[in-house]
């Protein structure tokens, strides 16, 4: 292999108290491929995504992204991996624009102001850019969270239920956006209950039950 795999999960287990959220999971995802992650609530999807995003780390086993171990190389990997989480990561008292500007500045994005304005336009929040996130609907929060993710131009995008809480137009936009990411060479991991929608966007599928991979299928 000339290029290390985008994701390499080796016998990973994650425990929360007495419960195993992810149990002895092993899989790889080649660079440039998109993975669909399915499973019921509590099957370990979110935990897996959080581990891939370096938000938390395995109790046992190893995760390597682009050949780098997550625990050891977290600082470098966080630059390249972006997570669209169930929690929006937003500061409720800051406006949409201020939330994005904070991220842009912390990442050292050049011309932060212009970049933020362009992204707000892209997710259709320009008219509400000055209202605090507290006043946003669930769908609008999702859009803002996506804009936050796009500030990163990640090599790997981890999307936890990206279609949840979006209206039909929003879902179409999201689909277009995921395609755009894929075409741009970004690896995508997509966790969703909408299996058909997800399958049309991805190349591979991993089904989780009680933290284990079940019935592997392409």
């Amino acid at each position: 292999m000339s290029q290390p795999a985008a994701i390499e999960v080796v016998d990973v287990s994650k425990r929360f108290g007495p419960r195993w959220a992810v149990a002895r999971l092993t899989f790889t995802l080649a660079t440039g491929r998109a993975l669909l992650l399915t499973g019921h609530n509590g099957s370990g999807k979110t935990t897996l995504l959080r581990m891939l995003a370096t938000a938390t780390f395995p109790t046992a086993g190893h995760i390597r992204l682009f050949g780098q171990e997550t625990r050891a190389e977290r600082a470098a990997l966080r630059d390249e991996v972006a997570l669209l989480s169930h929690a929006s990561f937003l500061y409720e008292d800051l406006s949409a624009e201020q939330n994005l500007t904070l991220v842009a500045r912390l990442r050292g994005v050049p011309q932060a102001k212009a970049a933020v304005a362009a992204l707000l336009d892209k997710v259709g929040l320009t008219t509400r850019s000055d209202s605090p996130a507290r006043h946003f609907s669930a769908g609008m929060r999702k859009r803002l969270a996506i804009a936050r993710l796009l500030l990163k131009r990640p090599k790997l995008a981890l999307l936890d239920e990206p279609f949840g809480e979006l209206d039909p137009a929003g879902i179409r936009q999201m689909e277009a956006l995921i395609r755009e990411l894929k075409d741009g060479g970004t690896g995508v991991v997509l966790a969703t209950h909408l299996v058909e929608q997800g399958q049309s966007l991805t190349d591979e599928r991993l089904h989780l039950e009680n933290g284990r991979a079940v019935g592997a299928q392409a």
Binding site: A55, A76, R78, L83, S88, F89, L90, E92, L106, P132
Partner: protein
Amino acid sequence: MSGHPKILAGAFEVLRKDLLIEWRTRARLNALIFFSLATLLLFSFALGPDSELLRKNAAGYYWLGILMASVLSLGESFRIETENLALDGLRLIPTDPRAVFLGKAFGNAVMLWLLSLIVLPVMVALYDVTIREGVAQLAGLLFLGCLGISAPGTVYAAIASNARARDVLLPLLLFPVLLPSLLASVKATGLIFEGDPMLQLRSWVGLLASFNVLYWGLGFVLFPKIIEDD
């Protein structure tokens, strides 16, 4: 790549964000001001109308008022971080956890300092205090004292915000640890009020500064252990 300038730049952004949030939620700051005023009033009620006693112990009551308010403001500063898991988002941007500590702890110190300055004139009137050694010195000392509260305060608030019964836990953990810097602050403030004929002020301020170095160093090293999930 992640050298010291980057930590300081990150800390500055975190500080800016915290102050911006405080500014956008001014109502909360107002509530805090009235809370500490109420505390100062309660001391004078509890002790009766002995104005001599109040004046003598003014520095102590003043710092107790600030301390009480600090628990609320520290708790609040981490409530905004646990909401929407914003602190996780901050980590993953990525922001160096030490930068988060420096930014938040400094922000908390600034907030407490502003609070103490706003309450100061009322305290002076209420306890009939004269500031003999100059208001500038007092302001500097207040800031040093607030820094001494905010460093361990930020560490402990981060811990308490994720535990059950956090409202009980934060003061329980924090107050005893704060005692040394609080004692030094009270002594030095008292000397500024009463005058400093023996020139003891310098050594108390020096002591307070040393506590600050110790607590900020500990916080800088240990804070990442608290917010990194491994």
